[in-house]
Structures are given as C-alpha cells and as structure tokens.
C-alpha cells in the first residue's frame, strides 16, 4: 500500500516537473538570497502571528510563531498529554469522556478561530475529533481546552468545525454515513443505500463560547468531506463538499469515482433555523456527552444528553440544494466577499468556481436537473462562475489573500498555485515538499485575510530533514506572498500530520485578556488549600484526601504516614505561586497515572492507589529554583489494618524514631 503510494508520488514528482517546466516560472531557485532574513525573528523578539496547527493523529493542536516557525506550545485537546497532565489528573479526565467511555486518543483535523463580523477575533479556537466525533473549544486566554461536545448520528467528523461569520454556529458534517443512533444498526453493510444517512450538526455557540447542538439535518447517505460558511452576501448559507454520491460501501477508491460529478451541498441554515423555531424539528433519541471545564473550580464535568432535534432534508425543499462539482470534491472554500465558492475535485484537473448570485438565480428560476435523494440538483452551468483551466493535478484547498487572489494546493502535482478569482487566470505556482494538503493564510477564510504569509502543510518530507528511522516528520512551509511571486522562506517539521491550520495577528491573541496566573483568591476548587496553614489530610473510609501546597521549594506536608494498603489516595496540590510561568510538578513513585503539572494559583489532583507497603518518595517534576531538587517528600504505606495513625508534618524535625 505504502509502496504503491510512494511510487505514485515519484511519478507525480515527474508530473510536477513537467508542469513547472512548461510554465514560465523559476521553480528551481525556490530559496533566494534574502529568504532566511524574511523568516528570521531574533531571539527575544516576538513573532507577528500565532499559527494554530492541527496535530492530526497526535490529537492535539500545536502553536507556532510566524514567520519564525518556532514551536510555542502544544495544546492537548483530544489526547491525554503527559506534559501537562491533561487527561491524567482527576480534573481533566472528564474532558475525554464520551458515550463510549474514556477515549484518550483521537484524530484532530481542522482548527477554526472564532470570528466577529467575519473577522478573526482571537477569543477561541475550535477543533474537531475525527474518529469519535467531537468538537472542542480552546480558550485563547489560557490556551487550554474548555469544552468538548460529542456529535450523535455521526462517524468520521471531517467537515468540521467550520463557523459562521459571527460564530453563531460551528458545523460538523459526517464523513461516514451510518445508520442513525436511534435505529438498529445491525444491518447488512450492502444495505447502505436504504439504511445509511449523513447527518450535519449545527452547534450553537453562546456568548461565553458555550456549545450546544441546536439541530441536525438528516441528509442523504454520502461522504461529507469539507465545509465552509458563507459570508457577507452569502451569510446564512453553508457549503459542504460531498463524495461517494454513488453510495458505494466497498473499495471506494474505484466505486466512489464512477460519476463525473459529485456535489457541493448548499444549506440555507437561516431557513433551517426558522423551521426549528416554528417547531418543525423532531426530537430523536440518542446519547452523547458534553464536557465543560469550569475555570473557577479548575474541574471538568461530563454530562450525558439523551435527545437531539432533527430536520429531515427530504421534508423541507428549500433548505438544501446540490451543486454538481467535478471528480470527488474535497475542498470547499468561500472567498472574502462571500460571492465565490471554490470546489476542488481530488481527481480533477480543473477548479470549478461557483457564484453565489448565480446560485440564487438558479434557485429562483428553478434551473434544476432533477433531484438527488429528494434534494434539488442545480444545473452545473447555472451556478458556475467559471473553471480554472489546467491549474495542476488534484486540487484540494483554497485560501485567499484579500487582494482578489486565490491560492490552491495541489496534492498530486505537489504545488501551490495562485490564480485570479475573477478572471480565473493562473498567476504563479511554487513547488512544495511534498504532497501538500491544506494551506493557511492568516485570516485566509475570513472576510479580512492578512495576505502576507502562506503556509503549506505537507504530508510527506522525504529528503527534507535528517532521517529518523522509517518515519519522518511531516512539514510546513512558509511562503512570503506579499509580492507578485510566492517566495519560499522557511520550512519546519510539525507534530503529527498537520491538516488545516489558522493564524491570527499575535497582538489580537495576546492582548485579549490572556491569563498569566490563576488568582489564588478566586480558586473555588473543592479541595483547594489556601496557604500552608490549611494543609491537612482527611480520611473518608478508604479514601485519603491530601490537601497539599507547593511553593518554591517545598511541599506542605512533606511527611505523610498512616496510609494503608487498600486506600485510594488523592493528592490535591495547590500551587501557591502568584508569579507568571512558575508551574510546579508532582510525581510519586509507582503511580500508574502520569503526574501533575500545576499552574500558579491552580489546584490539581493525582489519584494514587498504592500497590505495596513501604516508603514512596514524591517530588516536583518542573524545575523551579536553585533548590528545586530539594522539593520532595515521603509517603509511608502500611499494611491494611495497621495501627499507624494518619499523621502529616512539615519542618517539625521530629527526633529520630527508634
């Protein structure tokens, strides 16, 4: 499989060479003299943009500075993270709860920054989990995951999480159509056409960012791939690309490529909203969880929901329309004016560009070509603005620079192509290394792109970096797009396989009320210890709660005796520091549950079930001062039924026991 793929890539590299050699361009000298200078940010100087890059199979989001490509942070979202204790400490375990139980890993594909009036506003970042369908909200004041909502009736949450221009909704379309949750799914797989459905979820976003599934649209059983909201004149609409309109259920590589055209589904969500308000939605039984991290108690809660509102697209003829789109469309991108919708067929050698005005006319004049599973199909030419001819092979994704230009990635011919949205003329092309997927221009899917840099996210890097065994890092490449010609200025390895990414001006994020410490006065954690004098140990049956504090450079208490085998010990550690960037760690020998990393003013809990008697040292894992190494203590574990009393101390310098 892999070999075949690699051979394919080689052949494609030749194709790329062919493409570049027959165009008037200089792809050979991709790095010119001043390129390094353009990407150089001196030590101590700040970058111009934050780049939030999906971590693919790492389940996390990584944050890079632009243009330096420096890795600033990895934000754990859908995977347990040993660095921060996310998913290991008791406070964040509920964040990874699902209707399938605790899921400590997922596949994170797209990131989306919140917007106001179609412009990036720096409040939140949304991220999708592909495998166990979920959407997360990351708060950019703390760069931590604040909320995760599971999506019922879905599988392979791929066309997600894309947002409307005022962050009214985050949407999620299902990649795999499956039988809905409320019916018996134990059906023959080859009854796909009868039994499988594609659900689109509209998740409402509240003022504080809180998410709630407002409704779902039941759509034909196809594969919904990507999505983007309309904006400006097309605000109120959403566009989803879909493939496998053949409704095949095996060997899709062949069987889902039978038709010359699949569809982009245009959804009038304002209309859908009206029907919901008019009570036309049907409550359908299902089960999904909603996890919220409370900033005051520093603790997450997981709640189970049991129903969801559904509109069936068949019952409402003016919500959904199918626009034919050539060759298994993947990308579906809307330009900053909201007028042009760019479709990209994975197998196509052209880029179709649709016009929102023409689409509206076609709907008004009923320029339909029949129906697909009850949904009107618009005539291709009626909605088409035009096609970009011979742009390259395998167009995937398009972003915009706000100056009338579009930039499309070509997976098969490994290049980025710049073209004029109105005239559809190709203006420039540069090679990538290799097999580029998504691309990002800061604000590139908003009404106001910052058209200065373009970052290409590549699937393959053979020969690009020092080898590291059979696996190589995926990569991102930064291009300066401020001039007529795109110029490669830097490439850097990424964490996991980067899919989509978004970027915003640094000032927008870091001046948006970013938190440097958690104020100890405002800590409402039920097991907080506000000052060493409050530190204590409380036994409740076989549960032992240790109220512990940490500060440079000691824990209180640091001597604990009277724990017995069979006890569950909870170390609730409060970091008393009120200084920026002074987390403390906590680890105890033999714990099988990772460790803690506690931010200044925060409380975190490690659950420890001792498995044998003896002395167990604990210590701080995050260097904090010259006396960091001295920040340690001992816990003694005695046999079950032992008469050792529960005691704790710090600094009492007891006389040596006999």
């Amino acid at each position: 499989m892999k070999n075949k793929f690699l051979k394919g890539t080689l052949a494609l590299a030749l194709v790329a060479a062919f493409f570049s050699s027959c165009k008037p361009k200089d792809s050979n000298d991709v790095v010119s003299g001043d390129a390094a200078q353009k990407a150089y940010v001196a030590p101590g100087k700040y970058d111009e943009f934050y780049n939030f890059v999906s971590g693919g199979f790492s389940g996390q989001v990584s944050v890079y500075g632009l243009p330096s490509g420096r890795l600033l942070r990895v934000i754990p979202v859908f995977s347990a993270d040993p660095q921060s204790g996310y998913g290991y400490n008791e406070e964040t375990k509920p964040m990874l709860n699902t209707s399938n139980g605790f899921v400590p890993w997922d596949d994170q594909h797209h990131t989306e920054l919140s917007q106001t009036n179609g412009e990036v506003d720096g409040r939140w970042l949304f991220a999708n989990a592909n495998n166990t369908p979920r959407i997360a909200r990351v708060d950019l004041k703390t760069f931590t995951t604040k909320e995760i909502i599971e999506l019922p009736n879905s599988a392979g949450n791929h066309s997600s999480p894309f947002i409307t221009e005022n962050t009214e909704y985050v949407v999620a379309g299902t990649r795999f159509s499956v039988p809905p949750d409320n019916v018996n799914g134990d059906v023959p797989i080859n009854t796909y056409k009868q039994n499988f459905k594609g659900y689109l979820s509209f998740v409402k976003v509240g003022k504080e960012g809180e998410m709630d599934i407002a409704f779902q649209i039941a759509a034909p059983g196809v594969n919904f791939d990507l999505s983007h909201a309309g904006k400006g004149k097309s605000h109120g609409w959403f566009f989803f690309s879909c493939y496998n309109t053949e409704q095949a259920n095996t060997l899709l590589e062949v069987n889902a490529s039978q038709k010359d055209k699949d569809f982009i589904m245009a959804v009038n969500w304002k209309k859908a909203e009206e029907y919901i308000k008019a009570g036309k939605g049907k409550k359908v039984a299902t089960k999904y969880v909603h996890n919220i991290y409370d900033e005051k108690t520093h603790t997450a809660k997981s709640e189970t929901r049991n129903e969801v509102l559904v509109l069936d697209s068949k019952d409402f003829k003016d919500i959904c329309y199918m626009i034919p789109c050539p060759k298994s469309p993947h990308g579906c991108d809307v330009d900053p004016t909201g007028e042009y919708i760019v479709g990209s067929g994975k197998l196509a050698a052209l880029i179709p560009v649709f016009s929102f005005d023409k689409l509206q006319n076609a709907i008004k004049n009923k320029q339909f070509d029949g129906e697909y599973d009850g949904i009107p199909v618009i005539k291709y030419e009626a909605a088409l603005h035009g096609e970009v001819q011979k742009p390259g092979l395998g167009p995937l994704h398009t972003e915009f620079d706000g100056k009338g230009n579009a930039y499309t990635t070509f997976f098969v011919s490994s290049e980025v192509v710049k073209w004029d949205i109105k005239s559809l003329k190709v203006l420039d092309r540069v090679p990538t290394y290799y097999s580029v997927g998504h691309l990002c221009i800061p604000g590139g899917d908003s009404k106001k792109p910052y058209g200065k840099y373009l970052i290409a996210y590549n699937k393959i890097t053979k020969d690009r970096y020092l080898p590291t065994g059979p696996e190589l890092a995926q990569s991102a490449q930064i291009f300066d797009i401020s001039g007529d010609k795109m110029q490669l200025i830097l490439d850097f390895p990424t964490i996991g396989e980067p899919h989509y990414a978004q970027a915003a001006p640094a000032d927008l994020i870091r001046n948006n009320g970013q938190l440097k410490i958690y104020k100890i006065e405002e800590n409402k954690h039920p097991y907080v210890t506000k000052g060493e004098k409050e530190s204590k140990i409380v036994r409740e049956g076989n549960k032992v709660h240790v109220y512990m504090t940490s500060i440079r450079s000691h824990f209180a208490p640091d001597n604990i005796e009277g724990i017995k085998l069979g006890d569950e010990v909870y170390f609730h550690v409060t970091n008393l520091e009120q200084d920026w960037d002074i987390p403390h760690g906590f680890a105890i020998k033999g714990a099988d549950n990772g460790e803690l990393l506690i931010m200044p003013g925060e409380t975190c809990t490690l659950k420890w079930i001792p498995k044998k008697t003896g002395i167990f040292p604990f210590y701080c894992t995050d260097f904090c001062s010259a006396l960091h190494q001295e920040m340690q203590g001992y816990a003694r574990v005695s046999p079950a039924g032992s008469s050792v009393p529960l005691t704790f101390s710090i600094g009492t310098n007891l006389p040596a026991a006999k």
Binding site: D47, E48, N511, K516, E532, I551
Partner: protein, 149 residues
C-alpha cells in the same frame, strides 16, 4: 527588522501594564548609582504610617500572610525559606518593604542587602502578585508583629 520590531514597542507597553513589571523594569533599567537603598525600586515613594496600629488593616494583612507568605516566612526571627519577619519594620523603611514585596525581582538585582540575603537563602522571593492595598495591609501586619499597638 520590520517583521519582528513592528510591534515590539507595543509589546513592551502591554507587558508592563500587567503584572510582569520584571521585563519592563529590567529593560528600562535604573542606573545603579541612582538606586536608593532606603526606598528601594518600585512605585512607592512615601508611605504614611499612623502612630497607632490600624487593626482592621493588620487583620487583612494577616489573611494575606496566611495564604501567600507563611509558606516561607516565620513570624519569629527564625529563617524558614526566607528570613523571619521579626524586626523587619525596624530594619527597613516602609517604602522599601512596600516596593520589595510588590516588585521583588528587580530589587533583588539592585539592592545590596537583598543580594547579601540571597547568598544566605539561595532563593529569590517569588512575586506573589500583591495589589497595592495587599502590600499596605501586609506591612501593617508586620508592624503588629513588631509590637506596634
């Protein structure tokens, strides 16, 4: 240059507004020859102390001490992590104390007494993010601890 410097001046402004007085003060460093070892370094130039103890203020100061200070300082003259508090209000001017507890890092870099202390304790006092009022209350509690009635 433009890439990184375009908003750098702004960034310094922004960070100095918030609790990281550290960066701002360090970069706009005060000339060591002008450092006033009586007043210290920080926003407080004069602190008016009453003749008598303000009991309410001292009470608030004690609450803060319990949460933010007692981990490292005893009320006696015994050193814990940092020096004991006994006699601190006679060893230092009130301005010095207020400046130090709200702005510890830059002062440790400048103040001869603090540098001598650092050689003993080997621990830089953490910034505990005290507000101006917090600092004043803690000072009053220190006075109470030193016998002011």
């Amino acid at each position: 240059m433009l890439i990184s410097c375009g908003d750098k001046s702004k960034s310094t402004d922004n960070s100095s507004k918030e609790s990281t007085s550290e960066e701002a003060t360090k970069t706009e460093a005060v000339d060591p020859s002008t450092y006033d070892p009586n007043r210290g370094l920080g926003k407080f130039t004069t602190v008016d102390l009453g003749d008598k103890l303000d009991v309410a203020m001292a009470k608030k100061g004690e609450e803060i001490q319990t949460v933010k200070c007692s981990s490292c300082h005893k009320l006696t003259d015994e050193k814990l992590v940092g020096p004991g508090w006994k006699g601190v209000t006679s060893r230092h001017k009130p301005e010095w104390i207020m400046n130090f507890i709200t702005n510890p890092d830059p002062m440790i870099d400048k103040d001869p007494k603090l540098q001598a202390q650092l050689e003993i304790c080997l621990m830089r006092m953490p910034n505990q993010s005290l507000s101006d009022d917090d600092a004043r209350h803690v000072l009053e509690y220190m006075r109470q601890n030193d016998g002011v009635k």
